[in-house]
């Protein structure tokens, strides 16, 4: 008996067709499934795949503000952010034109594996930093790069001015920013050129009234007192970020608290002849041994600034500065401060553009400098329980910004690498990890 069982044998072509049909159905099914199910996380890429780097910080800030946690993936695709996938975040990103990449848990796992094996790290951001910007309350935001950046990115801040600082209000904030204020009280030595300008007169009268309200004789006394309050804020654990002339003048104000370093037009007396010798640099944050410029006719406060833009005979041309690499796992704080999609950034002038290496204190961390130049651009350090960061220059996207120049429209510079440096500073106090120094 023939026990063989006959099976319908399909031809080779029909088998192939059947396999193809099954495969197509599976792929289609997976695609439908992928569309139907939300991704578990949203990656905010910060490399060249991002359309609006500046607003990406705003989206991350909004996530924190909404009670969500976020992760800052240091050195991963330009310092990307990993956020929970929620409709609110997707909506905010769509409104702001921020590029998002939905990722599944599997993809996140492979990202983590990559991060673990390279000079990268994931830092958890978990709280919304309370931010204060030292500026007159009613001033429009267009003449201060940080206010400009925060306003554009949609990050909340409070304006504080001399009276608030003198009353001790800084303790309410985690992070304080200063821009081009002159803490020596000499109005950035603009007296000669702008003494009749309405804005100058208004500023002088306002500062003098504040000084008198606090029982002080003149503007230099007020500003130096404000500088010392700011020093106290950092000493007690605050984060300070300063740009432009505020960097240099803050340390001059702190070190010169008890020295007459101001010209006669601001306090009625010439600077002390031995001002340099009397400066108490041990109190200062970043600098030491600088020479204070005594002449009211030379538009410079000291020799801290390497570029001296307002002194024609000393002015140095602009170059480009390079951001340093730091170990994301061992030096997370400096690593956070330099996250960027560019490593070389065009320089930009300010009342103080850069910092001469010769006057830096020994513990200062240099975050960016110009190759072959005697100055550095971007520095960071600890002071007491807090820390400070100084970035030279006024407006990264208007390298020769002058008084009266049109305000910078950041929507025309949504991928500005230098503005990113400012926003790195804003998010850094939100980090959970305790900084570990090498």
């Amino acid at each position: 008996m023939d026990t063989r069982v006959s099976f319908p044998i399909a031809s080779g072509r029909s088998v192939l067709r059947a396999v193809a049909q099954v495969a197509a159905t599976l792929v289609l099914g997976m695609m439908v499934l992928a569309r139907a199910l939300p991704a578990q996380s949203l990656l905010v890429p910060m490399d060249d795949g991002q359309r609006n780097h500046l607003k990406a910080y705003g989206v991350t800030f909004a996530a924190l503000k909404g009670g969500l946690k976020a992760e800052w993936l240091l050195n991963y695709r330009g310092g990307s952010f990993l956020l929970a996938d929620t409709p609110e975040i997707r909506r905010k990103a769509a409104l702001d034109g921020v590029s998002l990449e939905p990722v599944t848990d599997g993809v996140v796992a492979s990202m983590r594996a990559e991060i673990a094996g390279a000079n990268m790290d994931a830092v958890v951001l978990e709280r919304v930093p309370k931010i204060a910007i030292y500026r007159p309350v009613n001033q429009p935001p267009w003449d201060d790069a940080v206010t400009l950046a925060l306003t554009y990115a949609g990050i909340d801040f409070t304006s504080v001015w001399d009276d608030a600082v003198m009353k001790g209000d800084l303790s309410k904030y985690d992070w304080v920013h200063l821009h081009h204020e002159d803490f020596t009280g000499q109005f950035n030595k603009l007296y000669l050129a702008y003494r009749d300008a309405p804005w100058f007169v208004e500023q002088r009268d306002r500062d003098l009234a504040t000084a008198r309200a606090f029982g002080l004789n003149d503007v230099p006394a007020l500003k130096k007192s404000v500088a010392d309050n700011i020093r106290g804020f950092v000493e007690k654990g605050g984060f300070l970020f300063a740009m432009c002339g505020a960097t240099e003048s803050l340390d001059l104000g702190i070190a010169g608290l008890n020295v007459d370093i101001a010209g006669p037009y601001s306090d009625g007396t010439p600077p002390a002849a031995d001002a340099d010798a009397k400066m108490q640099w041990t109190r200062a944050l970043a600098f030491q041994g600088a020479h204070v410029e005594p002449s009211p006719y030379i538009n410079a406060l000291s020799d801290i600034d390497g570029h001296q833009v307002n002194v024609a005979a000393r002015r140095q041309p602009l170059g480009a500065f390079t951001l340093f690499d730091f170990s994301a796992k061992l030096d997370p704080v400096p690593a956070m401060l330099v996250q960027n999609h560019r490593t070389v950034v065009p320089d930009f002038y300010g009342v103080t553009t850069s910092f001469n290496k010769a006057v830096l204190k020994s513990g200062v961390t240099v975050l960016a400098s110009e190759d072959g130049a005697p100055w550095v651009k971007y520095i960071h350090g600890d002071y007491g329980k807090g820390s400070w960061t100084f970035l030279g220059g006024h407006d990264p996207e208007d390298p020769q910004h002058a008084i009266g120049s049109a305000p910078t429209d950041l929507s025309l510079h949504p991928t500005s690498p230098a503005y990113r440096l400012i926003l790195n500073n804003v998010l850094f106090p939100a980090a959970k990890k305790k900084p570990r120094k090498t």
């Binding site: 769509a94 034109g97 024609a312 005979a313 120049s405 305000p407 929507s411």
Partner: protein, 601 residues
Amino acid sequence: MVRPLRNTWLRHLITVALFAAPVGAGAQSGGSAAADTVDPLGIAMSAEEKRDFPKAVAAYRVVLQKGMTQGTDNADLIAVALLGLERVWAETGARDSILPIVQRVLLLRPSDPVGRSIQLRTLVGLGRDDDARQAFLSWRRAAGNDGAPYRDYARLLISSGRAQAADSLLTEAGRTLGRAGMISSEVAQLHVALGRWNAAAVAFRDALADQPYLEAAAMFALARAPAPTRDSVRTVLLEGPPTLVLRRLMSTIELAWNEPRRGWTALSALKADDSSAVAWREFGERAEMANAWLVARDAWTAVFERDGDLDAQARAATAALNAGDAASALAMARREGRGNAAGKPATRVAMLVPVEIAALGELGRAAEAQARLDAAGKDVDETTRAMLSRPLVSAWLRSGDLERARTAVAGSDLADDDETVGWLALYDGDLATARKRLVRAETRRGELVDALGLLARARIDRSPALGQAFLALAKRDSAEAARRFIALADSAGTAPASSLTIGDASPALLALAARLVHGKESMALWDRIVASHPKSPEAPEALLSSARALRDAGDKAAATARLERLLVEYPQSALLPQARRDLERLRGAIPPSPYAAPHDS
């Protein structure tokens, strides 16, 4: 201190001693006979041009020697030689080589302005600030009450960014020399460098009283004043009785600030005379170039009122026509001229009748236009007549007389013109022909683009109703056109799906209508597009347009909501960048636009 040498024999001795020795081999080899017969200046300039710098230096030295030793000092020759040497040494990187030569010249000619100027320029250029200051002081002593040392030094200081030093210098000059020093221009430039715009305007105003040639410099300097400071510049320049120089300056600056109407207001205040008429003509031309047609019309009208000339009349009428003011164009074209300037009758017809016909066409007075053209007879040549057929056809269409328009086309070159034939077909409802011909049209006016867009969406070949709607548009009856577009869109909604309707074009029809009406009516149409045709390409446009209307009406919250909806629901729309920018501006996240809308009325 350098003191002038007064003894003639000593001057000659020093001249020979100082300049003869370093003349160089090239000049010496020629011998005295050759030097007499060949022009050393020619040799120097030729050598400089050929970049044979050693030879040029030697020859310029010969020229200098010649200038210094001739019976009477030849200041021109000395100046040419010094400037030549300065150029050549600058080219060879030996800029400081000029200094000893200049020093020697100044021993003999202590107040030589060219020598002093070169000395100062070179020292400042080399960064030898102390020496420059000494050179300035020496020149100041030698120059007496002349303001030249102050002027030159201040210019150099300003251009090297040392505005504060220049400020001190000019303050001192003002105190020492007063108005006689003629330093107002430098003071003005200094104020500009320091951003003191009001003071700069005052200084330029004062300087122009004595030095009217500074007008161009004042214009270029003050035109840079930022928008918030411009009113103070205006106040200074318009103060007091109007003078030609200041008003002309103000009008030019206003044009540079994109404020042609203010410019004309400043200039029109001048009393009508020959000089004013010249200024008005120049302003009219510039206003034409800036497409500020209403202002150009007024300027040319003012010229015509005074001179009665044909050119001004024709340009005023044309400007009015270009500004969309056909009535005043017609009135101007029909005015009588005065005297010889009015031109011969034939010339007047050739220049004014085309404007008149075009204006009549715009006004829809087609029969009158035809009659005017017929009356002009042989005064209008064939070329002009052919050129006028288009406005005539437009005139018939504007009056709604399709038949006469067709007749006018038949008798002209327009019978082969794709755009004209296409429009006529469209008005007839022949969409197939319109689609075929209009796409080949050479112009790309807004209404043509709208028509092409609609024709592409309406997939039928015939629709008299659509033709009537476009004809209403041609008659400038926008309300009727909108009503017809809406009716067409309504009918599309009720027609059976299988019937040949222009259903696909409904949102486009509604968008066209929305652009033709205003206020609530427009808003209702935009809303209808978003609600009924959310997937159409007009939906994001509807959101953006309605958001802008709400913003302009002061309803920021509603405008924001619409912009947000556009950004979230239409991520692929090409309007996203505009919407995002509008939203950011509404939120105050970016600065307000620095560019004010031009004022042209």
